[in-house]
Subunit: 331 residues, 2 copies
Amino acid sequence: MTQASFDPQAFRAALGTFTTGVTIITTRSADGAPVGITANSFNSVSLNPPLVLWSLAKTARSLPVFEEGLHWNVHVLSAAQEALSGSFAAQGTDKFAGLALDPGISSAPLLPGCTARFQCRTAFRYDGGDHVIFVGEVLAYDRSELPPLVYQAGQYAIAARKPRQEVRLGATPPPECSYTEDLLGYLLGRAHYQLLFALRQLLASHALDEPAFFILSTLSVRDRLSLDELNAIIGYTGFVVSPPQLAALEAQRFIAREQDGSVQRFVLTADGREASLRQIAHAKAVEEDLADVLGAGDVMALKLLLKRLIASTDPGLPDLWAPVNEPATMA
Amino acid sequence: MTQASFDPQAFRAALGTFTTGVTIITTRSADGAPVGITANSFNSVSLNPPLVLWSLAKTARSLPVFEEGLHWNVHVLSAAQEALSGSFAAQGTDKFAGLALDPGISSAPLLPGCTARFQCRTAFRYDGGDHVIFVGEVLAYDRSELPPLVYQAGQYAIAARKPRQEVRLGATPPPECSYTEDLLGYLLGRAHYQLLFALRQLLASHALDEPAFFILSTLSVRDRLSLDELNAIIGYTGFVVSPPQLAALEAQRFIAREQDGSVQRFVLTADGREASLRQIAHAKAVEEDLADVLGAGDVMALKLLLKRLIASTDPGLPDLWAPVNEPATMA
């Protein structure tokens, strides 16, 4: 695999396998103009004295400003600041337009909403080939609990953290056993049913089962659906909505039916809407509890991965949240 | 949030919010002894000339060796090399004992199984407070497709990557809508049912439904279960195994029953085992397809997060994979 020649793109790709956070580094020019660039070459160097470093291309238009000024701020970006990272990586735009700034210890712009910030003064400038290495003394710093933005192999990312102890659900399966707890399908099913397990008590108090929960949830997003339309949305779960089931929900006064020409359409009653809201509030509370245990960034990473999985295995489901004036395509 | 005093632990924690990969850097002393340390202070510096840097504490016992020798190798660790990271971060052990080495361009040890490797020669050594900054010219490098190990806030992690385009499943839900596709419960359910959707055709060809699939899968791991034991394992899904269901599977010749004193126990027949194996092979194929689309590291991150979610929401399920000679605790 050793590369004899150094194709810049291949070399860059190899370097890019080293994961980093994303920072924006800001300073202010002698004439008062704010300057900022996106950099992932940041790293810590020394605890005592407190030093950090980053490097800047010798061809960068901001180099003279950073060389003239002594003060600059490093912002470790949070996961929500992906767009900011993009705008400070681009050229020629007024990157600071519309941005609120926090007061800092120097004139260097201090951006809010970050995971951590380091207000620095240049301690050393070193030659680094086609880059200059800036080593700064950290004069002040702060941090928040916001999950940090991650960069790996040219893509933004969020970290899925591993606790110190290996996460094992049970005993190690015998090697000859082909059905293991490491199967993604098993893990998804078990996670789904465990979350539903928590919801099921609430459903039972409403005398509702799982398909009824799906029907109410669907109607809470999109009212006035026919039986066929409900099945087009719910069908992928394997549950088939039947007329007796709808009649039962009607008898429970959770839904009502409307005649629309030859088609019967179903709407939530006030009771149905309230029951649905309570179920959704419960689901949100479970999710918040999980974020406390797993970490906000990890829940963010989990949702991101589930969305990517869903998008790549979508059997062609209608878009439940499509605007109602543009009718959703029904399968 | 600004810290007036620099409590080393708090400062280190703030620096730790910047995510990094993990590297092992190796060299060989003049007397031929291999030396290696774990470092996350690695970063790229320059493309032309190709330069990378990392920093080493002035108190490190390996400092004299790295200062004397010119050649060292940087190994960007893969997710599977977490234990190696730990062993090279520890002191006093023979870190290289039992490790196979690849041939490199210098005498510096070259470890296999990494995401990327950079074989370097010291270009500059700079003062960095309580650390020395090593800048090396990259003489050779290689990379693999192995997902890299990540380090964030003192924990190992795996990156959940975000594609350039935002992952949206459908239209943006109206702001007043409380049931959104961003609910973790919704995403888990949809992901589960979409994967099951793919499996359901195969199940249908065996004239099996979802509960039957759960029964066969459970018996494929742990044979000779009674009805009560089956329900203790499957019950959290909301499906209750019933005697008629078991009778149906018996009539299909997928399972057989054995009398054990007063208890009837169920075992897979050869046909049942074959059907179960086919279903599991299908689930594994779906998972492999997903790894191709999402990336091996992302599937690893997803499994890690699902395991953490399952462990933290476990309603007390018996361990399906516990050794059979130690009976599993049944709920």
